[in-house]
């Protein structure tokens, strides 16, 4: 169906269902209970799941399939955000033109950067993309201030022209990004029992786009084009011996993933019409790398999973402060409690970056295949009791790590 076989179609369907029901599924505990802070079912966080899901899906098309590790993908995210906010300022608060422009601009940007960077591979490619991203970041802060508004960040104001819309609302405020009148921050709240479910327009818009981009990425994975990209990862030399030039394929993958990042950036701007240069910083590029790796680079579901886990942990960990920890460990005697609270406080609240760094290391050291690989290994454990695995070492040689060497 829709050009997918049954298994893939079910996967898309499941993703769509999960995205649809996320406000229910992610509200694990009643609103009044002490565990409510672990709920993820509120709009701001769910929007991030969907948006960073798109970002990671796009990154995975490049890194997962071709093995080219880009360390500068945040540049496209930033460019997408800036383009969208400019559309909000000049044209109207309708999100579609903004998203459209963001995808085009980031695609062109990726074309230029990709054309240059893809002449090299391996670490040189990583360093080139890093250099380009840092360059964009520095320029956004300095010379391009008229375009980016420097350190303050680009935002909508009351004096923007907005040719097709109004400069200000009837009440005199700044209009909110909307989809043909449906405001992005509109939320309807259902109260059922102790639970409070929030249905947010912005989230559903982003989630719909995420499902769409996920569908496109499955089609891409299964297409002959996707096969070519895998061939590049497996053995580029052999591919060129068969008379195929890998450059157009990698460039196409780079541009596609850049457009995904631009879309994600535009969506970030739709949810909150503000674009700052810090979105382009290389730590942001590192974040999407770890999302893909944590989920499992090269797998379909991995990046979404990784983005969800990282964003969830970020939100939860940043929220826990020493007061909360004291509450948790209250049942313990003072002697044990204080050191425990001290220890946990290092990793939570302000210490989230430390936790992120540790996750980075632990995943790369122990689980290079990511969560999907972990799930497969656990699955294998159960299956092995039945029949021996049918791994054919001869016909499935390990991919040569050409890109990295």
């Amino acid at each position: 169906m829709l050009g997918l076989d049954r298994k893939d179609f079910t996967l898309v369907l499941i993703i769509a269902l999960v995205a649809l029901l996320a406000p229910f599924l992610l509200n694990f505990w009643p609103t009044e209970s002490g565990m409510a802070q672990f709920n993820a079912g509120y709009p701001a966080l769910m929007q991030r799941f969907a948006i960073y899901g798109i970002f990671a899906i796009g990154f995975n098309i490049l890194f997962g399939l071709t093995g080219y590790l880009s360390f500068g993908h945040a540049a496209f995210l930033g460019v997408g955000s800036y383009s969208a906010v400019w559309m909000f300022k000049l044209l109207s608060m309708n999100v579609l033109p903004g998203i459209f422009l963001a995808i085009i601009v980031s695609g062109l940007f990726a074309l230029v950067i990709g054309y240059v960077s893809l002449r090299r591979s391996g670490i040189y490619f990583s360093i080139l993309t890093l250099a380009f991203a840092q360059m964009s970041f520095n320029l956004a802060y300095s010379v391009l201030t008229p375009l980016t508004n420097g350190e303050t960040g680009l935002q909508t104001t009351l004096n923007d022209p907005r040719i097709l819309g109004a400069s200000r609302t009837a009440e005199g405020g700044i209009p909110v990004p909307s989809l043909f009148g449906l405001e992005m921050n509109a939320t309807s709240i259902w109260k059922i029992g102790g639970w409070e479910f929030q249905f947010n327009v912005g989230y559903y818009f982003a989630a719909a786009l995420m499902v769409l981009t996920f569908y496109l990425s499955i089609r891409l994975f299964r297409s002959p084009f996707g096969l070519m990209l895998r061939a590049i990862k497996t053995n580029q030399t052999r591919m060129s011996y068969t008379g195929l030039s890998s450059r157009p394929y990698t460039l196409a993958a780079f541009v596609i993933s850049g457009m995904y990042a631009g879309l994600a950036g535009a969506l970030l701007a739709c949810m909150d019409p503000l674009a700052g240069a810090e979105r382009m910083q290389w730590t942001a590029s590192g974040e999407v790398v770890i999302m893909s790796i944590l989920g499992g680079a090269g797998t379909l579901l991995g990046p979404i999973l990784g983005a969800g886990v990282i964003k969830y942990l970020e939100n939860i960990f940043s929220k826990i402060n020493e007061g909360v920890l004291h509450g948790w460990f209250d049942f313990l005697p003072e002697v044990v409690k204080e050191p425990l609270v001290w220890l946990f406080a290092r990793f939570t609240g302000e210490g989230w970056s430390l936790t992120l760094g540790l996750i980075f290391m632990i995943v790369v050291i122990f689980l290079p295949g990511g969560l999907m690989e972990g799930a497969r290994r656990i699955g294998d454990l159960f299956r092995k009791r039945g029949k021996p695995s049918d791994d054919d070492k001869e016909h499935h040689p390990k991919p040569a790590a050409h890109v990295a060497e």
């Binding site: 240059v116 090299r120 591979s121 391996g122 990583s126 010379v143 430390l354 290391m361």
Partner: protein, 343 residues
């Protein structure tokens, strides 16, 4: 002419830092074949060694002196640093004053220990893994080290003064026969430059003239053969990792008075140092040093007002631009050997 000399001088101190970090990166890459994204963090830890020693020396105790009154009329409390109490007023004050240069002695064992621990505990397991994995794991380590420093020292830069003998600047132009006041150069930056030359010279001499260095160079060329000759090359490479770490650490210690250390200074330097390594030629020690100074000087030229008005923003991106041009036209870098890491 004097403006050119001034810019060259201005570029030297940054260039020295780039050169020292890039030298360590190249050493690690050449010996172990590992791309170390945590090298900037080692530089940062070095700078915090200076901060630590400065604080240790400044530790003091308070004595209430009933004969003197402070401005509120209470008995005055007089703070005395322990070192002043132990070694006498003058000598103690001198120790505090000279804490940054003394921190070099302090940083070497610290950085060697950190380097050994890092190599044995983590990097060792990544020799055979793809470079992408090495980049990621050391990137994670850099974040962790950075956060640990942030916990202990806070997020704000900590001013760490140079010895008072080296504060202030001297008129370099007058020495060369230009007008007085044309080329003013701070003493400490001159010291930094001289220091970096000494360290670079020492590393090169160590590799060139000692048996140990010879074995290491042989190992860089062909690790397997050296291993087959019955030499424990892994152990020597571990030591080289420690040396690279302490070179970065010393660079950090001496840099502390130029820029007050903060926890993310390593990251800021790391990206540029990688660019330096690539421009110089991956695996070429001389190339790393040359490119370090070159890029530092070019950067300072690009930040001249005349050039900035011609090409706005060029000072922000010059290094990256050069790296891009070099990578595209001469992939092996300025002094890279043919066929080594060209692809």
């Amino acid at each position: 002419m004097d403006a050119i000399i001034l810019q060259i001088l201005n570029g030297l101190d940054k260039g020295s830092a780039y050169a020292l970090i890039a030298l360590g990166l190249t050493l690690i890459f050449g010996t172990l074949g590992v791309v170390n994204f945590a090298h900037g963090a080692l530089f940062m830890i070095g700078a915090f060694c200076a901060v630590t020693l400065n604080r240790l020396f400044s530790l003091s105790f308070e004595v209430v002196d009933p004969t003197k009154l402070d401005f509120l009329g209470n008995p005055a409390k007089i703070k005395t640093a322990y070192v002043e109490a132990w070694f006498g007023q003058d000598f103690g004050a001198a120790i505090i004053d000279w804490s940054v240069p003394l921190a070099i002695l302090f940083s070497i064992p610290v950085m060697l220990a950190i380097g050994f621990a890092m190599e044995r505990g983590l990097i060792k397991h990544f020799y055979k893994r793809p470079h992408a994995d090495q980049i990621l794991v050391t990137f994670g380590l850099a974040i962790v080290l950075q956060e640990i420093i942030k916990y202990f020292y806070g997020a704000n830069p900590i001013p760490t003064p140079a010895p008072s003998a080296f504060t202030g600047s001297f008129d370099f132009g007058a020495m060369l026969g230009f007008d007085v006041g044309q080329i003013i150069y701070p003493y400490w930056r001159m010291v930094y430059f001289a220091f970096s030359l000494v360290v670079i010279g020492a590393v090169f001499a160590f590799l060139r003239f000692t048996t140990f260095g010879m074995v290491v160079r042989a190992g860089m060329a062909d690790r397997e053969t050296v291993g087959l000759l019955g030499i424990n090359i892994d152990r020597r490479f571990t030591i080289m990792f420690g040396i690279a770490a302490s070179v970065a650490g010393m660079a950090g210690v001496m840099y502390a008075p130029i820029n007050s250390p903060n926890y993310h200074m390593g990251m800021d330097f790391l990206v540029l140092s990688f660019v330096v390594v690539v421009v110089g030629g991956m695996g070429s020690l001389a190339g790393a040093v040359l490119a370090g100074f070159l890029l530092g000087i070019l950067q300072s030229f690009a930040s001249m007002n005349e050039i900035k008005s011609l090409l706005p923003g060029i000072d922000q991106i010059i290094i990256y631009l050069i790296a891009i041009v070099i990578l595209l036209t001469r992939p092996r870098g300025l002094m890279g050997r043919k066929g080594v890491m060209e692809d």
